[in-house]
Protein backbone atom coordinates (compact mmCIF):
# COMPACT_ATOMS: atom_id res chain seq x y z
CA UNK A 1 0.00 0.00 0.00
CA UNK A 2 1.53 3.29 -1.12
CA UNK A 3 1.38 6.11 1.41
CA UNK A 4 -0.42 8.92 -0.41
CA UNK A 5 -0.52 11.39 2.48
CA UNK A 6 1.05 14.78 1.83
CA UNK A 7 1.77 17.53 4.30
CA UNK A 8 1.35 20.77 2.38
CA UNK A 9 2.17 22.86 5.45
CA UNK A 10 2.01 21.72 9.11
CA UNK A 11 -1.62 22.89 9.42
CA UNK A 12 -2.69 21.34 6.13
CA UNK A 13 -2.19 17.61 5.77
CA UNK A 14 -4.05 15.83 2.97
CA UNK A 15 -4.87 12.11 2.86
CA UNK A 16 -3.86 12.17 -0.79
CA UNK A 17 -2.67 14.87 -3.20
CA UNK A 18 -5.86 15.07 -5.30
CA UNK A 19 -8.20 18.00 -4.76
CA UNK A 20 -10.98 19.44 -6.89
CA UNK A 21 -10.58 22.91 -8.36
CA UNK A 22 -12.83 25.77 -7.40
CA UNK A 23 -15.70 26.39 -9.81
CA UNK A 24 -15.75 22.82 -11.09
CA UNK A 25 -17.04 21.04 -8.01
CA UNK A 26 -19.98 23.17 -6.89
CA UNK A 27 -20.21 23.07 -3.13
CA UNK A 28 -19.36 19.36 -3.09
CA UNK A 29 -22.84 18.01 -2.48
CA UNK A 30 -23.57 17.85 -6.23
CA UNK A 31 -20.97 15.08 -6.55
CA UNK A 32 -22.23 12.80 -3.78
CA UNK A 33 -24.23 10.61 -6.21
CA UNK A 34 -20.98 9.84 -8.03
CA UNK A 35 -18.26 9.42 -5.46
CA UNK A 36 -17.38 9.49 -1.77
CA UNK A 37 -16.09 13.04 -1.51
CA UNK A 38 -14.44 12.21 1.82
CA UNK A 39 -11.91 10.13 -0.09
CA UNK A 40 -10.55 13.13 -1.98
CA UNK A 41 -7.52 14.99 -0.66
CA UNK A 42 -9.80 17.99 -0.26
CA UNK A 43 -12.64 19.66 -2.06
CA UNK A 44 -12.29 23.32 -2.93
CA UNK A 45 -15.59 25.17 -3.07
CA UNK A 46 -16.93 27.42 -5.76
CA UNK A 47 -15.52 30.92 -5.15
CA UNK A 48 -17.52 32.58 -2.38
CA UNK A 49 -18.15 36.26 -1.81
CA UNK A 50 -19.67 38.14 1.14
CA UNK A 51 -23.00 38.55 -0.66
CA UNK A 52 -24.54 36.20 -3.25
CA UNK A 53 -23.53 36.98 -6.83
CA UNK A 54 -25.53 36.31 -10.01
CA UNK A 55 -22.71 36.01 -12.53
CA UNK A 56 -22.52 37.11 -16.16
CA UNK A 57 -25.42 37.43 -18.63
CA UNK A 58 -25.44 35.80 -22.05
CA UNK A 59 -23.70 32.67 -23.22
CA UNK A 60 -21.28 31.52 -20.54
CA UNK A 61 -19.42 28.59 -22.02
CA UNK A 62 -18.14 27.47 -25.38
CA UNK A 63 -15.97 24.56 -26.35
CA UNK A 64 -12.61 24.96 -28.07
CA UNK A 65 -10.07 22.40 -29.25
CA UNK A 66 -9.38 20.09 -26.27
CA UNK A 67 -10.68 22.74 -23.93
CA UNK A 68 -13.42 25.16 -23.05
CA UNK A 69 -13.85 28.86 -22.48
CA UNK A 70 -16.01 29.96 -19.59
CA UNK A 71 -17.23 33.33 -18.44
CA UNK A 72 -19.49 32.37 -15.55
CA UNK A 73 -18.58 35.49 -13.57
CA UNK A 74 -18.21 33.95 -10.10
CA UNK A 75 -21.88 33.23 -9.54
CA UNK A 76 -22.24 31.95 -5.98
CA UNK A 77 -24.62 31.68 -3.05
CA UNK A 78 -22.61 33.92 -0.73
CA UNK A 79 -20.68 32.98 2.37
CA UNK A 80 -23.58 32.95 4.85
CA UNK A 81 -25.73 30.56 2.85
CA UNK A 82 -22.70 28.35 2.32
CA UNK A 83 -22.13 28.18 6.05
CA UNK A 84 -25.77 27.47 6.90
CA UNK A 85 -26.86 25.28 3.97
CA UNK A 86 -23.77 23.54 2.63
CA UNK A 87 -20.95 23.25 5.17
CA UNK A 88 -22.85 21.18 7.78
CA UNK A 89 -23.50 18.44 5.21
CA UNK A 90 -19.93 18.50 3.97
CA UNK A 91 -18.74 18.01 7.53
CA UNK A 92 -21.20 15.19 8.05
CA UNK A 93 -19.97 13.50 4.87
CA UNK A 94 -16.43 13.72 6.22
CA UNK A 95 -15.07 15.88 3.39
CA UNK A 96 -11.99 18.00 3.91
CA UNK A 97 -13.08 21.46 2.83
CA UNK A 98 -11.01 24.33 1.49
CA UNK A 99 -13.00 27.50 0.83
CA UNK A 100 -12.16 29.63 -2.20
CA UNK A 101 -12.82 33.30 -1.49
CA UNK A 102 -12.97 36.50 -3.51
CA UNK A 103 -14.21 40.05 -3.15
CA UNK A 104 -14.55 43.36 -4.94
CA UNK A 105 -11.86 44.97 -2.82
CA UNK A 106 -9.34 44.22 -0.10
CA UNK A 107 -11.86 44.83 2.70
CA UNK A 108 -14.25 42.25 1.24
CA UNK A 109 -11.53 39.61 1.13
CA UNK A 110 -10.51 40.37 4.71
CA UNK A 111 -14.13 40.32 5.91
CA UNK A 112 -14.77 36.85 4.45
CA UNK A 113 -11.48 35.53 5.81
CA UNK A 114 -12.30 36.92 9.27
CA UNK A 115 -15.77 35.38 9.12
CA UNK A 116 -14.37 31.95 8.24
CA UNK A 117 -11.58 32.07 10.79
CA UNK A 118 -13.98 31.15 13.60
CA UNK A 119 -15.75 28.40 11.67
CA UNK A 120 -14.97 24.77 12.48
CA UNK A 121 -14.55 22.33 9.61
CA UNK A 122 -12.57 24.45 7.18
CA UNK A 123 -9.05 23.26 6.46
CA UNK A 124 -7.71 26.25 4.59
CA UNK A 125 -8.62 29.25 2.46
CA UNK A 126 -7.77 29.62 -1.19
CA UNK A 127 -7.63 33.28 -2.19
CA UNK A 128 -8.82 33.85 -5.74
CA UNK A 129 -6.82 36.71 -7.17
CA UNK A 130 -7.03 35.39 -10.68
CA UNK A 131 -10.56 35.18 -12.06
CA UNK A 132 -10.44 36.72 -15.55
CA UNK A 133 -14.21 37.11 -15.90
CA UNK A 134 -15.18 39.85 -13.45
CA UNK A 135 -14.50 43.54 -13.67
CA UNK A 136 -13.86 44.23 -9.99
CA UNK A 137 -11.77 41.97 -7.77
CA UNK A 138 -10.17 38.81 -8.98
CA UNK A 139 -7.53 39.33 -11.60
CA UNK A 140 -6.89 43.03 -10.89
CA UNK A 141 -5.05 41.82 -7.78
CA UNK A 142 -3.44 38.89 -9.54
CA UNK A 143 -1.53 40.79 -12.18
CA UNK A 144 0.11 43.37 -9.93
CA UNK A 145 2.66 41.95 -7.44
CA UNK A 146 2.25 44.84 -5.01
CA UNK A 147 -1.57 44.75 -5.02
CA UNK A 148 -1.47 40.97 -4.62
CA UNK A 149 0.93 41.25 -1.68
CA UNK A 150 -1.20 43.91 0.03
CA UNK A 151 -4.27 41.76 -0.35
CA UNK A 152 -2.62 38.63 1.01
CA UNK A 153 -1.20 40.61 3.95
CA UNK A 154 -4.68 41.95 4.76
CA UNK A 155 -6.14 38.44 4.73
CA UNK A 156 -3.18 37.07 6.68
CA UNK A 157 -3.83 39.55 9.52
CA UNK A 158 -7.35 38.23 10.13
CA UNK A 159 -6.99 34.47 9.88
CA UNK A 160 -4.93 31.67 11.35
CA UNK A 161 -6.07 29.23 8.66
CA UNK A 162 -3.49 28.09 6.11
CA UNK A 163 -3.63 30.45 3.12
CA UNK A 164 -3.37 29.28 -0.46
CA UNK A 165 -3.11 32.01 -3.09
CA UNK A 166 -4.38 31.02 -6.54
CA UNK A 167 -2.29 32.64 -9.24
CA UNK A 168 -3.15 33.86 -12.71
CA UNK A 169 -1.16 32.76 -15.76
CA UNK A 170 -2.12 36.02 -17.50
CA UNK A 171 1.05 37.87 -16.47
CA UNK A 172 4.41 38.45 -18.04
CA UNK A 173 6.39 36.98 -15.12
CA UNK A 174 4.47 34.76 -12.72
CA UNK A 175 7.42 34.46 -10.35
CA UNK A 176 7.11 38.16 -9.43
CA UNK A 177 3.56 37.67 -8.13
CA UNK A 178 4.50 34.32 -6.56
CA UNK A 179 7.38 35.84 -4.61
CA UNK A 180 5.34 38.87 -3.57
CA UNK A 181 2.47 36.84 -2.09
CA UNK A 182 4.86 34.39 -0.45
CA UNK A 183 6.61 37.30 1.27
CA UNK A 184 3.23 38.71 2.30
CA UNK A 185 2.34 35.56 4.22
CA UNK A 186 0.72 33.14 1.83
CA UNK A 187 1.51 29.62 3.04
CA UNK A 188 0.90 27.91 -0.27
CA UNK A 189 0.46 28.83 -3.95
CA UNK A 190 -1.93 27.17 -6.38
CA UNK A 191 -1.64 27.61 -10.12
CA UNK A 192 -2.81 28.11 -12.75
CA UNK A 193 -6.22 29.71 -13.04
CA UNK A 194 -7.62 29.88 -16.58
CA UNK A 195 -5.89 31.59 -19.51
CA UNK A 196 -7.83 34.47 -21.03
CA UNK A 197 -9.12 33.54 -24.47
CA UNK A 198 -11.56 34.62 -27.15
CA UNK A 199 -13.87 32.70 -29.47
CA UNK A 200 -15.80 34.37 -32.31
CA UNK A 201 -18.36 33.25 -34.88
CA UNK A 202 -17.51 34.35 -38.41
CA UNK A 203 -21.13 33.91 -39.59
CA UNK A 204 -22.77 36.18 -37.03
CA UNK A 205 -19.55 38.18 -36.69
CA UNK A 206 -19.98 38.18 -32.92
CA UNK A 207 -18.07 36.82 -29.94
CA UNK A 208 -19.40 33.45 -28.76
CA UNK A 209 -19.43 34.47 -25.10
CA UNK A 210 -21.63 37.15 -23.55
CA UNK A 211 -18.62 38.45 -21.67
CA UNK A 212 -16.65 38.56 -24.98
CA UNK A 213 -13.57 36.92 -23.44
CA UNK A 214 -13.45 33.89 -21.19
CA UNK A 215 -11.10 31.65 -19.28
CA UNK A 216 -9.59 28.71 -21.17
CA UNK A 217 -9.36 25.41 -19.30
CA UNK A 218 -9.07 21.71 -20.06
CA UNK A 219 -6.33 19.50 -21.53
CA UNK A 220 -5.39 22.26 -24.00
CA UNK A 221 -3.71 24.29 -21.23
CA UNK A 222 -1.76 21.51 -19.52
CA UNK A 223 1.67 22.20 -21.07
CA UNK A 224 1.40 25.89 -20.14
CA UNK A 225 0.34 25.03 -16.59
CA UNK A 226 3.11 22.49 -16.21
CA UNK A 227 5.73 24.98 -17.35
CA UNK A 228 4.48 27.64 -14.92
CA UNK A 229 4.36 25.22 -11.98
CA UNK A 230 7.89 24.12 -12.77
CA UNK A 231 8.99 27.75 -12.92
CA UNK A 232 7.30 28.77 -9.65
CA UNK A 233 8.50 25.70 -7.74
CA UNK A 234 12.06 26.78 -8.49
CA UNK A 235 11.39 30.42 -7.60
CA UNK A 236 9.75 30.15 -4.16
CA UNK A 237 10.30 28.17 -0.96
CA UNK A 238 6.62 27.64 -0.15
CA UNK A 239 4.64 24.63 -1.43
CA UNK A 240 2.90 24.77 -4.80
CA UNK A 241 -0.33 23.08 -5.88
CA UNK A 242 -0.58 22.27 -9.60
CA UNK A 243 -3.73 22.98 -11.63
CA UNK A 244 -4.40 23.02 -15.35
CA UNK A 245 -5.88 20.45 -17.72
CA UNK A 246 -5.41 17.40 -15.52
CA UNK A 247 -7.62 14.60 -16.82
CA UNK A 248 -5.80 11.41 -15.83
CA UNK A 249 -3.51 9.96 -13.18
CA UNK A 250 -0.57 10.39 -15.56
CA UNK A 251 -1.40 14.07 -15.93
CA UNK A 252 -1.52 14.47 -12.14
CA UNK A 253 1.79 12.63 -11.77
CA UNK A 254 3.41 15.00 -14.26
CA UNK A 255 2.61 17.94 -11.97
CA UNK A 256 3.87 16.05 -8.91
CA UNK A 257 7.02 15.17 -10.81
CA UNK A 258 7.87 18.80 -11.49
CA UNK A 259 7.40 19.59 -7.82
CA UNK A 260 3.74 20.30 -7.06
CA UNK A 261 2.88 18.98 -3.57
CA UNK A 262 -0.68 18.29 -4.69
CA UNK A 263 -2.98 18.90 -7.65
CA UNK A 264 -6.45 20.21 -8.34
CA UNK A 265 -8.72 18.59 -10.92
CA UNK A 266 -10.93 21.06 -12.77
CA UNK A 267 -12.70 20.77 -16.10
CA UNK A 268 -12.32 16.96 -16.15
CA UNK A 269 -14.90 16.79 -13.34
CA UNK A 270 -17.54 18.01 -15.80
CA UNK A 271 -16.86 15.18 -18.22
CA UNK A 272 -16.47 12.43 -15.66
CA UNK A 273 -17.74 13.25 -12.16
CA UNK A 274 -15.83 10.25 -10.77
CA UNK A 275 -12.48 11.33 -12.20
CA UNK A 276 -11.11 12.60 -8.86
CA UNK A 277 -11.10 9.19 -7.23
CA UNK A 278 -10.05 7.45 -10.44
CA UNK A 279 -6.98 9.67 -10.37
CA UNK A 280 -6.29 8.85 -6.70
CA UNK A 281 -6.42 5.15 -7.56
CA UNK A 282 -4.36 5.66 -10.69
CA UNK A 283 -1.61 7.49 -8.80
CA UNK A 284 -1.51 4.76 -6.17
CA UNK A 285 -1.35 2.01 -8.80
CA UNK A 286 1.40 3.73 -10.73
CA UNK A 287 3.54 4.31 -7.65
CA UNK A 288 3.05 0.74 -6.48
CA UNK A 289 4.06 -0.64 -9.87
CA UNK A 290 7.17 1.49 -9.75
CA UNK A 291 7.94 0.48 -6.18
CA UNK A 292 7.49 3.79 -4.43
CA UNK A 293 6.59 3.53 -0.75
CA UNK A 294 5.18 7.00 -0.54
CA UNK A 295 4.06 9.69 -2.94
CA UNK A 296 6.38 12.24 -1.38
CA UNK A 297 9.34 10.27 -2.78
CA UNK A 298 8.00 10.91 -6.27
CA UNK A 299 7.19 14.61 -5.77
CA UNK A 300 9.80 16.88 -7.30
CA UNK A 301 11.89 14.02 -8.66
CA UNK A 302 12.16 15.47 -12.17
CA UNK A 303 15.63 15.06 -13.61
CA UNK A 304 16.64 17.85 -15.94
Amino acid sequence: MVDLQVEIVPGLVLKNPVMTASGTFGYGREYTPYLDIAKLGAIITKGLSLKPKTGNPGTRITETACGMLNAIGLENIGIERFLSDELPQLKQLGADVIVNIFGNNQDDYAAIAARLDQVAGIKALEINISCPNVKAGGIQFGTDPQAAANLVAAVRRVTTLPLITKLSPNVSDITKVAEAVADAGSDVLSLINTLVGLAVDIDSRRPLLGNITGGLSGPAIKPVALRLVHQVVKAVDIPVIGIGGIASARDALEFLLVGARAVEIGTANFINPQIGLEIVTGISDYLEQHEYEKVTDFIGSLQV
Binding site: E30, G55, I61, E63, I72, P219, T267, N269
Partner: protein
Protein backbone atom coordinates in the same frame (compact mmCIF):
# COMPACT_ATOMS: atom_id res chain seq x y z
CA UNK B 1 -28.36 9.07 -12.56
CA UNK B 2 -25.85 6.79 -14.17
CA UNK B 3 -22.53 6.95 -15.94
CA UNK B 4 -22.45 4.24 -18.56
CA UNK B 5 -21.03 3.12 -21.86
CA UNK B 6 -23.74 2.46 -24.41
CA UNK B 7 -23.60 0.77 -27.81
CA UNK B 8 -25.20 2.18 -30.93
CA UNK B 9 -27.99 -0.22 -31.88
CA UNK B 10 -29.10 1.73 -34.93
CA UNK B 11 -28.36 5.05 -36.58
CA UNK B 12 -30.97 6.26 -39.07
CA UNK B 13 -30.38 9.33 -41.21
CA UNK B 14 -33.65 11.31 -41.26
CA UNK B 15 -32.49 14.39 -43.17
CA UNK B 16 -29.21 15.74 -44.47
CA UNK B 17 -28.06 16.66 -40.95
CA UNK B 18 -30.44 14.90 -38.53
CA UNK B 19 -29.90 11.38 -37.19
CA UNK B 20 -32.04 9.10 -35.08
CA UNK B 21 -29.96 6.90 -32.80
CA UNK B 22 -30.92 3.98 -30.62
CA UNK B 23 -28.37 3.34 -27.85
CA UNK B 24 -28.14 0.65 -25.19
CA UNK B 25 -28.27 1.69 -21.55
CA UNK B 26 -28.60 0.09 -18.11
CA UNK B 27 -32.15 -0.95 -17.22
CA UNK B 28 -32.19 1.46 -14.28
CA UNK B 29 -31.35 4.38 -16.57
CA UNK B 30 -34.29 3.45 -18.79
CA UNK B 31 -36.65 3.16 -15.82
CA UNK B 32 -35.69 6.62 -14.57
CA UNK B 33 -35.91 8.27 -17.99
CA UNK B 34 -39.19 10.13 -17.48
CA UNK B 35 -40.60 12.27 -20.32
CA UNK B 36 -38.62 15.50 -20.76
CA UNK B 37 -35.46 14.29 -19.04
CA UNK B 38 -32.17 14.32 -20.94
CA UNK B 39 -28.88 12.49 -21.33
CA UNK B 40 -25.33 13.78 -21.83
CA UNK B 41 -23.52 11.89 -24.61
CA UNK B 42 -19.93 11.94 -25.70
CA UNK B 43 -17.62 9.81 -27.77
CA UNK B 44 -15.80 7.28 -25.72
CA UNK B 45 -12.41 7.64 -27.39
CA UNK B 46 -10.42 9.27 -24.56
CA UNK B 47 -9.00 11.92 -26.87
CA UNK B 48 -10.74 14.96 -25.30
CA UNK B 49 -11.58 16.47 -28.66
CA UNK B 50 -14.44 17.23 -28.62
CA UNK B 51 -14.06 17.57 -24.88
CA UNK B 52 -17.48 17.85 -23.30
CA UNK B 53 -20.54 15.66 -23.52
CA UNK B 54 -23.59 17.12 -25.26
CA UNK B 55 -27.14 17.19 -23.90
CA UNK B 56 -29.97 15.41 -25.77
CA UNK B 57 -33.62 14.94 -24.90
CA UNK B 58 -34.49 11.28 -24.42
CA UNK B 59 -37.11 10.77 -27.11
CA UNK B 60 -38.01 7.15 -26.45
CA UNK B 61 -36.85 4.28 -24.34
CA UNK B 62 -37.32 0.54 -23.91
CA UNK B 63 -36.11 -1.88 -21.25
CA UNK B 64 -32.45 -1.51 -22.12
CA UNK B 65 -32.22 1.17 -24.80
CA UNK B 66 -33.12 4.78 -25.44
CA UNK B 67 -33.40 6.97 -28.53
CA UNK B 68 -32.19 10.48 -29.30
CA UNK B 69 -32.33 12.84 -32.24
CA UNK B 70 -29.00 14.39 -33.14
CA UNK B 71 -28.76 17.39 -35.44
CA UNK B 72 -25.31 18.37 -36.62
CA UNK B 73 -24.61 21.85 -35.31
CA UNK B 74 -20.90 21.54 -34.57
CA UNK B 75 -18.05 19.11 -34.17
CA UNK B 76 -19.53 17.31 -31.16
CA UNK B 77 -22.86 16.54 -32.80
CA UNK B 78 -21.13 15.68 -36.08
CA UNK B 79 -18.96 13.09 -34.37
CA UNK B 80 -21.86 11.57 -32.43
CA UNK B 81 -24.13 11.53 -35.47
CA UNK B 82 -21.55 9.62 -37.47
CA UNK B 83 -21.19 6.79 -34.96
CA UNK B 84 -21.74 3.46 -36.67
CA UNK B 85 -23.82 0.61 -35.31
CA UNK B 86 -21.86 -1.26 -32.66
CA UNK B 87 -19.63 1.63 -31.66
CA UNK B 88 -19.51 2.89 -28.10
CA UNK B 89 -20.75 6.12 -26.65
CA UNK B 90 -20.32 7.41 -23.15
CA UNK B 91 -23.49 8.49 -21.40
CA UNK B 92 -24.57 10.24 -18.24
CA UNK B 93 -28.16 10.46 -17.10
CA UNK B 94 -31.05 10.59 -17.01
CA UNK B 95 -30.72 14.23 -15.93
CA UNK B 96 -33.12 17.10 -15.33
CA UNK B 97 -36.66 17.21 -14.00
CA UNK B 98 -38.86 16.32 -16.99
CA UNK B 99 -42.48 17.31 -17.58
CA UNK B 100 -44.90 17.23 -14.69
CA UNK B 101 -47.32 14.31 -14.49
CA UNK B 102 -50.58 15.07 -16.24
CA UNK B 103 -52.66 14.24 -13.19
CA UNK B 104 -55.96 15.62 -12.07
CA UNK B 105 -54.30 18.28 -9.97
CA UNK B 106 -52.40 19.75 -12.87
CA UNK B 107 -55.21 19.41 -15.37
CA UNK B 108 -58.27 21.57 -15.21
CA UNK B 109 -61.51 19.80 -14.36
CA UNK B 110 -63.26 20.09 -17.69
CA UNK B 111 -62.39 18.13 -20.79
CA UNK B 112 -59.81 20.63 -22.06
CA UNK B 113 -57.01 18.97 -23.97
CA UNK B 114 -53.33 18.65 -23.24
CA UNK B 115 -51.51 20.57 -25.96
CA UNK B 116 -47.98 19.56 -26.90
CA UNK B 117 -46.08 22.18 -28.92
CA UNK B 118 -42.89 21.17 -30.71
CA UNK B 119 -40.64 23.33 -32.84
CA UNK B 120 -37.86 21.73 -34.91
CA UNK B 121 -35.66 19.49 -32.79
CA UNK B 122 -37.94 20.17 -29.82
CA UNK B 123 -39.93 17.19 -31.07
CA UNK B 124 -37.45 14.86 -29.33
CA UNK B 125 -38.44 16.12 -25.89
CA UNK B 126 -42.14 16.58 -26.69
CA UNK B 127 -42.50 13.16 -28.32
CA UNK B 128 -41.23 11.50 -25.14
CA UNK B 129 -44.54 12.47 -23.52
CA UNK B 130 -46.30 10.31 -26.13
CA UNK B 131 -43.85 7.52 -26.91
CA UNK B 132 -42.98 6.67 -23.29
CA UNK B 133 -46.62 5.92 -22.67
CA UNK B 134 -46.60 3.11 -25.17
CA UNK B 135 -49.93 3.73 -26.87
CA UNK B 136 -51.75 4.53 -23.66
CA UNK B 137 -53.37 7.95 -23.49
CA UNK B 138 -51.41 10.44 -21.38
CA UNK B 139 -54.50 11.00 -19.35
CA UNK B 140 -57.67 9.03 -20.04
CA UNK B 141 -59.83 12.04 -19.28
CA UNK B 142 -58.36 14.42 -21.79
CA UNK B 143 -57.47 14.53 -25.45
CA UNK B 144 -53.93 15.22 -26.55
CA UNK B 145 -53.07 17.51 -29.44
CA UNK B 146 -49.60 17.73 -30.96
CA UNK B 147 -48.79 21.01 -32.70
CA UNK B 148 -45.59 20.58 -34.63
CA UNK B 149 -43.74 23.24 -36.57
CA UNK B 150 -40.52 22.97 -38.56
CA UNK B 151 -38.63 24.82 -41.26
CA UNK B 152 -39.59 22.44 -44.07
CA UNK B 153 -41.69 19.37 -44.67
CA UNK B 154 -38.70 17.02 -44.51
CA UNK B 155 -37.84 18.35 -41.05
CA UNK B 156 -41.18 17.26 -39.63
CA UNK B 157 -39.59 14.16 -38.19
CA UNK B 158 -40.95 10.73 -37.41
CA UNK B 159 -44.59 11.72 -37.77
CA UNK B 160 -45.72 8.19 -38.68
CA UNK B 161 -43.87 6.71 -35.74
CA UNK B 162 -45.38 9.19 -33.33
CA UNK B 163 -48.89 8.70 -34.69
CA UNK B 164 -48.60 4.94 -34.66
CA UNK B 165 -47.40 4.82 -31.07
CA UNK B 166 -49.75 7.33 -29.51
CA UNK B 167 -53.31 6.87 -28.36
CA UNK B 168 -56.07 9.32 -29.12
CA UNK B 169 -53.80 11.97 -30.62
CA UNK B 170 -54.57 14.74 -33.09
CA UNK B 171 -51.56 16.14 -34.96
CA UNK B 172 -51.41 19.56 -36.65
CA UNK B 173 -48.32 20.59 -38.57
CA UNK B 174 -47.03 23.84 -40.00
CA UNK B 175 -43.79 24.87 -41.71
CA UNK B 176 -41.91 28.08 -42.35
CA UNK B 177 -42.10 27.52 -46.12
CA UNK B 178 -45.60 26.05 -46.32
CA UNK B 179 -44.36 22.73 -47.72
CA UNK B 180 -46.52 20.72 -45.31
CA UNK B 181 -49.65 22.48 -46.50
CA UNK B 182 -49.78 25.24 -43.92
CA UNK B 183 -47.32 28.07 -43.75
CA UNK B 184 -46.48 29.97 -40.59
CA UNK B 185 -45.47 29.50 -36.98
CA UNK B 186 -46.54 26.80 -34.62
CA UNK B 187 -47.71 29.45 -32.17
CA UNK B 188 -50.49 30.34 -34.64
CA UNK B 189 -51.77 26.81 -34.23
CA UNK B 190 -51.54 27.21 -30.46
CA UNK B 191 -53.63 30.38 -30.60
CA UNK B 192 -56.30 28.56 -32.61
CA UNK B 193 -56.50 25.75 -30.08
CA UNK B 194 -56.54 28.01 -27.04
CA UNK B 195 -59.31 30.09 -28.58
CA UNK B 196 -61.43 26.93 -28.56
CA UNK B 197 -60.10 25.40 -25.33
CA UNK B 198 -58.81 28.25 -23.15
CA UNK B 199 -58.36 26.00 -20.10
CA UNK B 200 -55.88 23.67 -21.80
CA UNK B 201 -52.56 22.67 -20.38
CA UNK B 202 -49.58 23.22 -22.69
CA UNK B 203 -46.11 21.67 -22.83
CA UNK B 204 -43.68 23.24 -25.31
CA UNK B 205 -40.14 22.61 -26.51
CA UNK B 206 -38.31 24.30 -29.34
CA UNK B 207 -36.00 27.17 -30.25
CA UNK B 208 -35.96 30.13 -27.88
CA UNK B 209 -37.86 32.54 -30.20
CA UNK B 210 -40.66 29.98 -30.42
CA UNK B 211 -40.76 29.47 -26.65
CA UNK B 212 -40.90 33.23 -26.19
CA UNK B 213 -43.95 33.35 -28.46
CA UNK B 214 -45.55 30.39 -26.69
CA UNK B 215 -45.08 32.21 -23.41
CA UNK B 216 -46.79 35.30 -24.82
CA UNK B 217 -49.70 33.30 -26.20
CA UNK B 218 -50.18 31.47 -22.88
CA UNK B 219 -50.09 34.81 -21.10
CA UNK B 220 -52.66 36.26 -23.49
CA UNK B 221 -55.08 33.39 -22.82
CA UNK B 222 -54.17 33.32 -19.12
CA UNK B 223 -53.59 29.60 -19.31
CA UNK B 224 -51.00 27.32 -17.81
CA UNK B 225 -48.08 25.76 -19.54
CA UNK B 226 -44.55 24.45 -19.20
CA UNK B 227 -41.54 25.23 -21.36
CA UNK B 228 -38.60 22.90 -21.86
CA UNK B 229 -35.46 24.98 -22.35
CA UNK B 230 -32.11 24.24 -23.87
CA UNK B 231 -28.78 25.87 -23.17
CA UNK B 232 -25.10 25.21 -23.52
CA UNK B 233 -23.85 23.19 -20.58
CA UNK B 234 -20.53 21.64 -19.71
CA UNK B 235 -21.64 19.19 -17.04
CA UNK B 236 -25.42 18.61 -17.01
CA UNK B 237 -25.56 18.07 -13.25
CA UNK B 238 -25.51 21.52 -11.74
CA UNK B 239 -21.88 22.46 -11.20
CA UNK B 240 -20.54 24.38 -14.19
CA UNK B 241 -23.26 27.10 -14.01
CA UNK B 242 -22.98 27.52 -17.77
CA UNK B 243 -26.70 26.98 -18.42
CA UNK B 244 -28.43 29.33 -16.00
CA UNK B 245 -31.64 31.00 -17.16
CA UNK B 246 -33.11 34.18 -15.75
CA UNK B 247 -36.28 33.57 -13.79
CA UNK B 248 -39.02 35.82 -12.44
CA UNK B 249 -38.26 37.05 -8.96
CA UNK B 250 -39.97 35.28 -6.12
CA UNK B 251 -38.04 36.93 -3.28
CA UNK B 252 -38.82 40.20 -1.55
CA UNK B 253 -36.00 42.24 -3.01
CA UNK B 254 -37.46 42.27 -6.52
CA UNK B 255 -34.19 41.13 -8.04
CA UNK B 256 -34.44 38.53 -10.77
CA UNK B 257 -33.39 35.04 -9.86
CA UNK B 258 -31.71 32.46 -12.00
CA UNK B 259 -32.14 28.73 -12.36
CA UNK B 260 -29.93 25.99 -13.71
CA UNK B 261 -31.51 24.55 -16.83
CA UNK B 262 -29.83 21.20 -16.17
CA UNK B 263 -30.94 20.41 -12.61
CA UNK B 264 -33.79 22.81 -11.86
CA UNK B 265 -35.10 22.37 -15.41
CA UNK B 266 -35.07 21.85 -18.30
CA UNK B 267 -38.86 22.12 -17.80
CA UNK B 268 -40.11 25.29 -16.11
CA UNK B 269 -43.54 26.81 -15.56
CA UNK B 270 -43.99 29.16 -18.53
CA UNK B 271 -44.74 32.22 -16.40
CA UNK B 272 -41.48 31.87 -14.43
CA UNK B 273 -39.04 32.13 -17.34
CA UNK B 274 -37.59 35.55 -18.19
CA UNK B 275 -36.35 35.64 -21.78
Amino acid sequence: MYLFTGKIVSNRQLTRDIRYLRITAPAEFCRQAAPGRFVMLGCDDGLFDPLLKRPFGIMNRGDDWFEVLIKEVGRGTLQLGELAEGSCVSGHGPLGNGYPEVDSELRSKDSSPLILVAGGMGIASIASCLLFNNRRPLNPDCKTILLYGAARLDELLLLDEIEKNSADLRIETITDDGSSGRRGWVTELLENELRQHPASLTFACGPEPMLKNVQQVLCKFKTRGYLSLENRMACGFGVCLGCVQKMAATGDNGAGESAKVCTQGPVFPADKVVF
